[in-house]
């Protein structure tokens, strides 16, 4: 995982995107300046559209994806994750809003330019793979290149290269129906990488796989990203998956983004119960680091010093027997951390405080 500095310009950015379905879908937003209204106004508007029988799949969605970043979108089924990622690739035409790829509004490009962008800049992986049943592995992977009219030699060369990247050498002439789910998704991944895209969309790529294979695929995915440094939008409804791979993530509900931040921000400072619900069962000791829970105060002199990235779990035995706590080195400053800080951090993830009555 590469932490990107907040100052870099976004690769892809999504501004006030709305998508409506159902009757009168193109009427509701006709005279509304979507960029000019606040979050509360947007929420009321969405509600009034729903009351009139419209379907709001995306409500005023805005976020940025930085170069080389893995941006995860999470939410319950029907919360509009697929819709928003399809808006980003214009598989679904947004009803309103802007989508900027390298600063250029994707919604304004002609269909010819769009095809060109998809051929060279975008790749997408689907939940149920979306492989062509009549093509074998090699042909499936080479399919986008074939559509571009690339010559046989270069096409097959590039296809073979990505096939070996995903570890499918030797299965080139198998057909999708002869592969397991995990292998099929590797084909899907290879195909989306064959065009060497800059932005990479993955819509619940591992949801159809069983837990063991899913873990293995996540590891491979991270390995690939370490080599390739794509800008990634990754959809999942599994918080643990998000935790493992996300640099930053957004949580969606009823078509709207509820919170954006690093996974640990979401755990430590959930904006509402919906977000807390997701983070509740996370084995916190795996994620919390000394830097996350330490107080802002300077440490008293003469206590032990640990780096900010130390896992809290590893400090527990020490903190249990040392009330004075430890000093945590954040960049070049030292801050104080005691067992009190750990308890406070954990408490923020718990909404039900009624176990002890006053």
């Amino acid at each position: 995982m590469t932490a990107s500095s907040p100052t870099s310009t976004p690769k892809l950015s999504c501004k006030h995107v709305w998508k409506l379905y159902g009757k009168g879908a193109d009427q509701h937003l006709r005279n509304i300046d979507v960029a000019g209204q606040g979050a509360a106004e947007a929420r009321d508007l969405a509600q009034s559209i729903r009351d009139e029988g419209g379907i709001v799949a995306s409500t005023d969605v805005s976020f940025d994806v930085l170069p080389g970043e893995i941006f995860v979108i999470m939410g319950l089924s029907g919360s509009g994750k697929s819709t928003i990622v399809r808006c980003l690739s214009r598989l679904v035409e947004p009803t309103a809003g802007e989508i900027l790829l390298d600063g250029e509004d994707l919604l304004k490009v002609s269909s010819k330019e769009l095809i060109d962008i998809r051929r060279h800049k975008m790749g997408m992986v689907f939940q149920s793979f979306g492989l062509m049943p009549h093509l074998n592995v090699l042909e499936n992977v080479a399919f986008p290149l074939k559509l571009q009219g690339l010559g046989d030699k270069e096409r097959l060369e590039r296809a073979k290269r990505v096939i070996s990247l995903v570890g499918l050498e030797g299965r080139e002439s198998s057909f999708p129906s002869q592969l397991s789910g995990g292998q099929q998704q590797r084909v899907g991944i290879a195909r989306s990488l064959a065009v060497e895209p800059e932005v990479w969309f993955l819509d619940e790529p591992f949801s159809a796989l069983d837990p063991l294979i899913r873990r293995q695929m996540q590891d491979e995915f991270l390995r690939l990203q370490q080599e390739l440094h794509k800008s990634i939008v990754f959809i999942t409804h599994d918080f643990l998956e998000a935790l493992r791979i996300a640099d930053r993530m957004a949580i969606m509900k009823d078509g709207a983004v509820v919170q954006i931040g690093r996974p640990v921000d979401l755990i430590l400072n959930p904006v509402d119960d919906y977000v807390r619900e997701f983070t509740k069962d996370v084995p916190w000791e795996l994620i919390l680091t000394a830097g996350d829970v330490a107080s802002g105060n300077a440490p008293p002199a003469g206590i032990k010093e640990v780096p900010a990235s130390t896992n809290v779990a590893d400090l527990l035995p020490y903190l249990a027997s040392h009330d004075s706590g430890v000093a945590v080195r954040k960049d070049d400053t030292l801050v104080h951390m005691t067992s009190q800080n750990v308890i406070a951090a954990l408490a923020s993830g718990v909404s039900d405080a009624s176990a002890v009555k006053d």
Partner: protein, 687 residues
């Protein structure tokens, strides 16, 4: 009791009273019983005049098409004849091997060998030439229309009803206008075959293209497909299997129509061979040629089907084709060296026909009494009562007593007792239906006043589909009356009705048995599969051989063909019930018998109703063909129209037949939907 069943009761009471009046006062009601000729509109003459004008004015256009189409036929024919049979052998066996493995290859080899050794090769190739030319045209036409229907909703709404109509018009009726427009010749068979064969292709294309999963489309788009790439490289290949199933159905329809078209004569093909020998009562020869058609149908079906279901390609080999080409050449060379590999010598042709005829003769002599008894029993105790009614059919000569006033009174009393029993149990509607049935049985369908029969039909339509369907039925009945084809229509109704009734009773019984017993299922399956692929008039041959021409033969042919869907849908319906319901019922402790009668059958009713619907459709398509064995129904009118080139007569009869088919279709569909709604299930599969 709710208001809708109240209304049913009123309607059926009115109908019953009307029918009763018509039966009791049949002698006094004159024009209400027999539709007066004076009220028949003279439609046939104007139709003929219009057609003649059309032919004179636009005939050149169709002649030109005919001339154009002659070329590919000629080409196909000369190609099929020029290449020695031994070389075709190689190609076919290779195709069979690829499509269905060794079993199919052996079956194909035996079939081809049969054609050669029994001396039918050349006639078979004449028929096959038409099939070969018509398939690509029908496929292209069907694919184009299917694509259009897929792309445009409006096109879909236009195309679908037309297809429905085309598929209810009997095959025979297609021939007549085509014959008049294109003139005698092989093109008639070709054009008829294209028109008859393209609708299944349209349907399958639409179904296939619609069924492509969204994610496949989206992944195509994300691969940067242009609209045309998306269609040709993503949608079409993904829908390939369904489209190929369309090709399979188109092939079968095409062959079937090519065979039927030989009825117009002038073609030395295999269909003509069957017909001409049948007409000369050379049944042995007819059967031998009929077997060729059956074999062709089975081979073509299995091969095209085999290619279609290899939906997930697992191997591809150019090597096989090269070997095939080499062997093809070798076989050709061999034929040059040994002429019998090209032209099977006359002297070597097997001809068991005389022996078969002699054997048949022997059977007639030996079993005459048995055969006669079967035929007479069916005729006197089943067919005639329904056709002319108990009042006419019962005589001392057949039943051993006459319909004296005393007997009639007895009959009425029994009916009254049964009806009283039902009404006593609160089942008023069934009580009415018993009375109605008894009345109809008493006077017979042909003896029933037209007013009464029309009322029954319209009431049925109303019960099944409400006011709209009733209006449609009324319009249909009016057409039959006004164009003067009421009488043959009633005969059609009677023949088809009896046939369908029996097919349905036996078929659902067999289907039920097959659903409970795997051995039975395995035995029944290939038989019904084969019957379904068989071109219709092949089915006639064995019955004509044994029972000669007549309504009884027609009835048997209808039953044997129409029983197929009855069996299929019943078994399917019973075997595909929700598991949890069956398990729950078993857990409660039902006996297998109770399970079948009280759980499975009631749940399978919608599927069985769909089977009834298909049974009727199959029955009607066979009915038209049975005109060949001398029925006097609408099919015969079509046949006569075809023979005399009388457009008006043939066409009104053809439309009449289609109207009957459509009304029967909508009525059974309507009932099926009502039952589905009551059970809360949704069925839309077709088998």
């Amino acid at each position: 009791m709710d208001s809708s069943s109240d209304r049913s009761l009123v309607v059926w009471l009115a109908v019953t009273v009307l029918v009763a009046i018509c039966v009791v006062f049949a002698k006094n009601l004159g024009p209400l019983v027999i539709y007066p000729d004076a009220l028949v509109l003279p439609v046939t003459d104007p139709m003929n005049t219009a057609m003649r004008w059309f032919v004179v004015t636009f005939g050149w256009f169709f002649k030109a098409i005919s001339w154009l189409l002659d070329w590919p036929i000629l080409l196909a024919k000369s190609l099929l004849h020029a290449v020695p049979w031994a070389a075709w052998f190689v190609l076919w066996i290779y195709l069979a091997l690829r499509a269905g493995g060794r079993g199919l290859a052996i079956f194909t080899a035996i079939s081809l060998m049969y054609m050669v050794t029994f001396g039918f090769w050349s006639q078979s190739m004449n028929s096959f030439a038409l099939v070969v030319v018509s398939i690509p045209m029908a496929v292209a036409l069907g694919f184009a229309l299917g694509t259009w229907g897929f792309l445009s909703d409006r096109a879909y709404r236009i195309i679908m009803p037309i297809l429905d109509l085309m598929q209810t018009v009997p095959a025979f009726a297609y021939l007549l206008p085509i014959l008049l427009l294109f003139g005698f010749g092989t093109t008639v068979g070709l054009v008829a075959s294209i028109l008859f064969a393209f609708p299944p292709m349209v349907r399958n294309t639409i179904v296939g293209l619609r069924g492509v999963p969204d994610e496949v489309i989206e992944s195509g788009l994300m691969s940067g497909a242009t609209p045309s790439q998306l269609f040709w490289r993503v949608r079409v290949p993904t829908a390939q299997r369904q489209i190929l199933l369309g090709v399979n159905q188109t092939t079968m329809a095409s062959l079937s129509m090519v065979i039927i078209a030989s009825i117009i004569g002038g073609t030395n093909d295999i269909g003509w061979e069957v017909l001409s020998t049948m007409r000369k009562a050379q049944f042995g020869e007819s059967l031998l040629a009929g077997i060729v058609i059956a074999l062709m149908a089975m081979v073509l079906d299995r091969i095209t089907w085999g290619f279609a279901v290899q939906s997930s390609p697992t191997k591809r080999g150019a090597a096989g084709w090269i070997i095939c080409a080499v062997l093809f050449g070798a076989a050709w060379l061999l034929a040059l060296l040994f002429p019998p590999f090209k032209d099977w010598p006359e002297a070597w042709v097997l001809n068991p026909a005389p022996a078969m005829n002699a054997g048949l003769e022997w059977i007639f002599v030996e079993f005459r009494t048995v055969l006669e008894a079967i035929k007479r029993a069916a005729l006197f105790y089943l067919m005639l009562p329904i056709k002319i009614g108990l009042s006419q059919a019962v005589s001392p000569f057949t039943w051993g007593f006459a319909m004296t006033p005393a007997v009639t009174t007895g009959y009425s009393l029994i009916v009254a007792a049964v009806a009283a029993y039902f009404s006593f149990k609160g089942k008023l509607l069934p009580a009415l239906w018993v009375i109605l049935f008894a009345l109809v049985l008493y006077s017979g369908l042909t003896g029933l006043a037209w007013v009464a029969l029309s009322a029954v039909i319209v009431a049925l339509a109303w019960q099944a589909g409400g006011k709209n369907l009733a209006l449609w039925a009324l319009a249909g009945v009016a057409f039959l009356l006004l164009t003067g084809i009421w009488e043959p229509s009633v005969i059609s109704l009677y023949l088809c009705g009896v046939g369908v009734l029996l097919s349905f009773i036996f078929g659902s019984a067999i289907g039920t048995w097959a659903s409970e017993n795997d051995t039975v299922s395995r035995m029944v399956r290939p038989v019904i599969d084969t019957l379904q692929t068989m071109p219709l008039f092949v089915i006639l041959i064995p019955f004509v051989m044994v029972f000669k021409i007549g309504e009884f033969t027609a009835l048997l042919a209808i039953i044997v063909y129409a029983i197929v869907p009855a069996i299929r849908y019943t078994e399917h319906g019973l075997r595909n019930l929700p598991h949890d319901v069956i398990e729950a019922a078993t857990a409660i402790g039902t006996t297998p018998r109770q399970l079948l009668w009280q759980v499975k059958l009631p749940l399978a009713v919608p599927s069985i109703m769909l089977g009834l619907n298909q049974t009727i459709m199959f029955g009607i398509s066979m009915l038209v063909i049975t005109a060949l064995v001398g029925t006097d129904d609408l099919g015969q009118q079509i046949y006569i129209g075809l023979g005399d080139g009388d457009f008006g007569v043939g066409m009104t009869a053809g439309i009449g037949m289609a109207i009957i088919a459509m009304i029967a279709d909508r009525i059974t569909q309507g009932f099926s939907q009502q039952i589905q709604a009551r059970l809360g299930v949704k069925l839309n599969e077709s088998l």
